[in-house]
């Protein structure tokens, strides 16, 4: 689905991403882990069009998408969620979802004046779909609440819900787990798996919680110092000496002993 070729992104003299090459297979849930400062978020930002690359290329299903702006990528089916939820806070949860699909008739000014009928039909369909998604996420009771006033975890669900409003091909998740209560995280994990299975979404997620990664992801890519260090199943990764040294540390063993 996504192929990153020899990607560089430098900040001044600093090489945040330093020749990373990786592939994300269609239909997979790929994990992206690595020590702090490895360049994961930066890589994400370059792929999602937020930052221009210093050099290198990004392909999506064989098409060169290097440096395209986020909104263009969205229409190609590349979606992302944010580490800190980016809800539209003054709008209701339903509206948060309804605004997602692109190319709505009513988004063209002219049509808002002379195409009222068509808009009304479309809106009905959108509304039905949004309610469906809310139900899927088990937050249908929040449909009319302002998105700014629901809890942090619910906002994250909403983030995920937005990806369900259109037919996404690949979704990038930036640390969905950070700061999320574990119980809720499990719900989110379930949702991700269902989307992957039922809708065929490809996922790529940055995460530090190895349990969560372990439950969802195959394969897992490890980054360090701007490069790809290794790639494999979670067990392969956990066994990889270089990964243990750079990222997991030996503390992991103790922890497992405790847990």
């Amino acid at each position: 689905m996504i192929e990153v070729k020899n990607l560089h992104r430098h900040f001044g003299g600093f090489r945040a991403v330093d020749g990373a090459s990786l592939e994300i297979e269609t239909g997979s849930i790929t994990g992206l882990v690595g020590p702090n400062g490895a360049g994961k978020t930066t890589l994400f930002n370059v792929v999602a069009g937020v930052l221009p690359p210093t050099s290198g290329q990004v392909f999506m299903a064989g098409e060169d998408i290097t440096g395209l702006p986020p909104h263009t990528l969205f229409h190609k089916g590349l979606l992302r969620t944010f580490q800190i939820a980016h809800e539209f806070s003054s709008m209701s949860c339903r509206e948060n979802l309804m605004m997602v699909p692109g190319g709505q008739t009513g988004e063209t000014l002219w049509n808002t004046w002379f195409g009222r009928k068509r808009i009304a039909d479309e809106e009905r369909a959108l509304r039905a779909k949004a309610d469906e998604v809310l139900e899927f996420l088990t937050i249908e009771h929040l449909a009319d609440h302002k998105a700014g006033q629901v809890s942090g975890g619910q906002k994250k669900l909403l983030e995920l819900g937005r990806t369900m409003m259109v037919d996404a091909r690949i979704v990038f998740l930036d640390e969905v787990g950070a700061g999320v209560n574990r119980t809720l995280l499990n719900t989110i994990g379930d949702a991700i798996i269902r989307l992957n299975k039922e809708r065929g979404y490809t996922f790529c997620m940055i995460e530090h919680d190895m349990d969560f990664i372990g439950r969802l992801c195959d394969p897992v890519i490890v980054m360090a110092e701007g490069k790809v260090l290794s790639k494999g199943t979670i067990d392969e990764i956990k066994a990889d000496e270089r990964v243990i040294e750079a990222y997991l540390g030996t503390g992991l063993k103790n922890k497992e002993a405790v847990g």
Binding site: F74, H86, E95, M99, G106, R116, E123
Partner: protein, 429 residues
Amino acid sequence: MRTVLLFGAVACLILGTGFLQSWNSALLILNMGLISAVMALGVNLQWGLAGLFNVGVMGFVALGGLAVVLISMPPVGAAWQAGGGGILLGLVLGAATIVAAVLVWARTSGKLRGWGTAGVLLIGMVIYRMVLDPSVEAVEAVDPALAGYLGGLGLPVLLAWPVGGVLAAGAAYVIGKTALGLRSDYLAIATLGIAEIVIAILKNEDWLARGVKNVIGLPRPVPYEVDLQNDPAFVERAAGFGLDATTASTIYVKIEYGLLFAAVLIVLLVLSQLALNSPWGRMMRAIRDNETAARAMGKDVTARHLQVFILGSAICGVAGAMMTTLDGQLTPGSYQPLRYTFLIWVMVIVGGSGNNLGAVLGGFLIWFLWVQVEPMGHLLMSLITAGMADGSWLKAHLLDSVQHMRLLTMGIILLLVLRLNPRGLLPER
């Protein structure tokens, strides 16, 4: 409910002017209030809907004014003969130079890029000046006291209103494309600057609209009072109302203007309301709430901002054209940022940013105060100084300062509203 009450209150103020001072004054305030409301509507579109901070309203208003001259004044034949072609050619060359420079910039790289672009610009500029300057001189030499410019197209003046909008929109496109395209958004300073440049061009390019020599006697969309007074039928009808011909004709003309302005305001208001309560409006609110997320959800934020900026500016342009039509003359020297930019902002903020009706209300209310604060200030100062000895220095000084109360009052009103009613008199929803 609140809306009705507040609009009622403003209506009372204007009616009060009619009863206490004169109906002519009241109608004049009403007409300028209508124009101000349109301007406020434009600024509200930009600020209320998209958070775009336009501090160059004056420039767009002035462009609207220019449109009136370009459309409605008769062409000056002699001037066209003297240098019309040359000027047009010069302008085309100038535009071509910029296009060429941009192309060179885009197509080349390395050292060649900088020098090549600079070279193209320099050579282009020289040719442009060589073609333009003599023609301009020739045009400006044609009867400078009365003409000295190319004149307009001699078309009906009402046509100038939409054209004013188009002119303003064109300028807004260039500014928006540049300022909104920068890595961060630098719209405020860009508009502040462009407004000054527009005024500078209006003042100094005499061939365009006589520059500071002003164009007076612009055609009107309504009859002339004198003609009415000479029309026996009109005089008779006026007499039927118990009015003398002069008063009747002046009031009649003002009412006609008022109807025209009101029509424009209502059309614009309806269109904006329709747009606001539609997926388009929802998209704009989403962008306002969280730009990054909107972008990631496939909304082209820059394009939408540009769209709103252009629309808002166009509305200001239309208002500018209406105002110049009402004035009957274009006087570039009278465009002042305090009056045409900051005052409009006060209208929007006081009225209620994000609420179109609020902006309209603000337009009426603030314009009323702007006009009436001076007489009210007089009264106030007379009261304050009543106890002071006649001829005392302070008393004289205070009475002299009355006209400056205007600015002070506007500031105080703005601050009070921002403090007590930060969303404005008519808040958004």
